[in-house]
Symmetry: C2
Subunit: 303 residues, 2 copies
Amino acid sequence: MAGRKKQVPRAQAVRPQPASQAEQSATRPLTRDDLVQASVRVDPDLRRRSELLWEDRSRSTRGPKAAFTPDDVVQAAIHIAEADGLSAVTMSAVSARLGLTTMAIYRYFPKKDALLDAIVDAAMGRPPIPSDPRGDWRDDVTQWAHAKRTMLCARPWLAELPFVAAPHGPNWLRWVEAVVEPLSRIGLNAVDTGEMLSVIDGYTRGASDTAISLARARARGTSDAEWTAAVGADLGRAIGDPRFPAFAALITAPSGGDPRTMETSFDFGLQRVLDGIERYVAATTTQPTRPTRVAKPATRSQR
Amino acid sequence: MAGRKKQVPRAQAVRPQPASQAEQSATRPLTRDDLVQASVRVDPDLRRRSELLWEDRSRSTRGPKAAFTPDDVVQAAIHIAEADGLSAVTMSAVSARLGLTTMAIYRYFPKKDALLDAIVDAAMGRPPIPSDPRGDWRDDVTQWAHAKRTMLCARPWLAELPFVAAPHGPNWLRWVEAVVEPLSRIGLNAVDTGEMLSVIDGYTRGASDTAISLARARARGTSDAEWTAAVGADLGRAIGDPRFPAFAALITAPSGGDPRTMETSFDFGLQRVLDGIERYVAATTTQPTRPTRVAKPATRSQR
DNA sequence: TCAATTAGCGTACTACGTACACTGTACGAG
DNA sequence: CTCGTACAGTGTACGTAGTACGCTAATTGA
């Protein structure tokens, strides 16, 4: 009943927020400070899901002993997801794997959403530990990005979940911490450091999509040849279509004997991103009075 | 029956591809050329879904006239998604909106998957048209990235779909074309142009996540204050926790009177990415014999 | 000892996707 | 003009998933 679907009455039209709130960040733009403010009044459903990720689940000793821990349930669900994909993770399947009946799972997680939250966080695992605090931040960030990409590719079923809106659990914070630490070594102020975090994490997740798609196809039993054929067939529709001349030229151009694998491509792009960060760092530290680089949308601010 | 779930038998263990294929891109690395190869033998289900996106749906004149077009169905579904979220898009709801019974939808789309594919492509809409071919590529790419981000934020329910594995429809190709065109103006070779495409699109999608999350909260009726409180409450758990010192320091640091909105933050990061690309362009064009920049993973290749 | 608390079970209800058979309609070949 | 073919939409029914609710039994603090 407390689900978040259909909270809005059907009669309400396309624009759920008529005029009371900004639709983009126009009238009341959200700033970083807003995010840091203390929580006052939160959607109780999300609140509960978040708490389930963080709270210590060992309160009462009364009653019969539980046969499993919440983590056992999560591991069972992850096992099913690895084997048969996320769609096979049903409450029945998870309980059956533990030798329980369907409803027993609800003693561990009140909703399937909450279980999925826990699965996401557990599946992320631990990030690599950065080098010593005197190491080169660029090496550590590179290692982090590759590790995150590898993690995402190893669990392609994670991409089937709405990654964005899930509550942030301990492992999520661990991953963030592992990249903020080297980024903090750059010497930028907090705001800029946050921007760099967004750039690197954004690139890492966004640019891993193709590899994730391949990994998912493999997990489904599709051969690499089949996958490339399917993707190639879609992209190939651009060839000869007058609507897509530039893209058609791109994919038909010879690669010139420099075949790059997906991972080296990822690394190549990552180094460009890090180059851009370094250029900013150089410009900032050389010139202590950093100019405010606020750009109007769709307009290049600075180069 | 033809679904892609449970194709792999349950007994198969965690690693679905034991030794026949490479697990990462180690033994048989996939290169860009593989993608361009002609299609031979493809998953018939995905094949069909892709064809439904491209084929001309006006073949036979026999039989009764259809009351709607496939696009009418898609628009009805999109309307429901905008109003009540993606979970409200059921076959019943879509047909009811058109004044039909549930099963009538299957005359237009054989599976819900196929309908969702069409919804995704239609919801992407048309990209902005690049400036004249003599314009600055950087302006056009910046405009494109902002437009894509705006598009994603305007339809936050798109993020609930597994964006990655969906077939690529006409609008998807239009968006790609719209950014490949200015990228082609840089003067890089095809391989490098493809890399830059990946960098920019990856950053754009990945770095839009927070804004999408906010947009989704708004669509659900959550106020901005509630959303910031929820996110802030999660992030705030880092404060005081010895496991997350760097991140705690980051979010507790004063912003120094330079509050950036989400959109300016996005643009700031985008300009860093474009800086990195420009730096590479400068290095490449100055020195015609471009060195092969292939990095081993987790190791910086060049700076 | 006993009352409170809680693990797991069984039943039942709802919603959703969709297979299948059926009805009626419109066109085109004869 | 007619009639068979092809197709739009309907109605029914089934399987699966999530989960509300109440029950039983086990465990332990008071």
